[in-house]
């Protein structure tokens, strides 16, 4: 995948997170709906055992829920991009150094 393709793909993902996620349906998802209908939703409402930085796609200091969702969504998109790329690149580096061979095809694009 070329650098241009990567930027286009990441840009598209960021646009989804920034511009469209604030307008996502607020209805409960399938599991929540079943949990509410079948009477076990309360089991998930106890205090969670782990404190996370941005619970429910909020952002500290941003009151407007839509803006907060957009900002935390964009942050998450970039974080996931970095982690996945980094993990994949790490595997490549590890393998290349383990085998002491040059890449058979090189970079094409």
């Amino acid at each position: 995948m070329s650098a241009r393709g990567t930027l286009l793909g990441l840009g598209a993902a960021l646009l989804l997170a920034l511009l469209i996620s604030p307008f996502a349906s607020p209805r409960p998802d399938g599991l929540e709906k079943v949990a509410a209908d079948k009477g076990f939703l309360h089991r998930g409402e106890r205090k969670p055992p782990l404190t996370v930085p941005l619970p429910d796609y909020t952002w500290p200091g941003i009151r407007d829920a839509r803006v907060a969702t957009a900002v935390s969504g964009a942050f998450g998109t970039l974080a996931v991009f970095g982690i996945a790329w980094g993990a994949a690149a790490l595997l490549r580096v590890k393998r290349d150094s383990a085998r002491h061979v040059t890449r058979p095809f090189g970079h094409r694009e």
């Binding site: 469209i20 409960p28 998450g76 996945a84 690149a89």
Partner: protein, 219 residues
């Protein structure tokens, strides 16, 4: 269908952490063996796209919403092993940063959506694709039909696994929760199939080389 903390009993979520860990370890080994240079940025882009797309809940009938799972999408482009790893990364970030899915249930969510929703569902896609290819000889490659079948199955199978886990936890009887989960997710699965097919159809037209070929990419 991200399971929150509190829905699963420890006797269910603890073993599922082990299953998820073992499954992921195997997937990472397979990715390590076959990942090509050009797939490295695609791993990042695919993960980012699926994370963003999972925020976009679309309304379905009955006062419910669903969002793309993305398991089949990732697997069709990067293969079942990388697909499962991608969904797991998305689930881990959602859980650890945004409290979307419980930390105790992360193992269960990885089993349901990454191992079943991406890894196993890739097998359905591959099987459907070759079965259709044999039975419908004159048409071009039936990749889109296979993607439709596999992406619908991925959501329904993941929801069925989730229902079994809830039942084993004593949260809700199987005969209650299994039909309810399958009914709702049969609808959400249609959305999954429409979105996945649209994206794959675009990619087949513009960049067919990005579609995963089992046993190594063609270029």
């Amino acid at each position: 269908m991200h399971i929150p903390d509190g829905f699963l009993a420890a006797r269910v979520w603890a073993p599922l952490w082990v299953v998820a860990g073992g499954g992921l370890w195997y997937c990472i080994r397979r990715v390590d063996a076959e990942l090509k240079d050009k797939a490295v940025p695609l791993m990042g882009v695919m993960s980012a796209f699926i994370f963003a797309a999972q925020m976009l809940n679309f309304p379905v009938a009955g006062g419910t919403s669903g969002h793309l799972l993305g398991g089949v999408l990732a697997a069709v482009l990067l293969g079942p092993w990388a697909g499962a790893v991608i969904i797991s990364i998305v689930l881990a970030v959602q859980c650890l940063v945004f409290q979307d899915g419980g930390i105790t249930a992360l193992g269960a969510n990885i089993v349901n959506m990454a191992l079943i929703g991406a890894g196993f569902s890739y097998a359905i896609y591959a099987l459907a694709r070759s079965a259709l290819r044999i039975s419908v000889k004159r048409r071009p490659d039936p990749i889109i039909a296979a993607v439709a079948v596999a992406s619908w199955c991925s959501v329904v199978l993941a929801s069925a696994a989730c229902a079994v886990e809830l039942a084993l936890s004593g949260t809700s009887p199987l005969k209650v929760v299994l039909p309810a989960m399958i009914a709702v997710h049969s609808l959400i699965g249609v959305g999954e199939a429409i979105i996945t097919c649209s994206i794959v159809a675009c990619i087949v037209r513009v960049r067919p080389d990005l579609i995963y070929v089992s046993g190594g990419r063609s270029s």
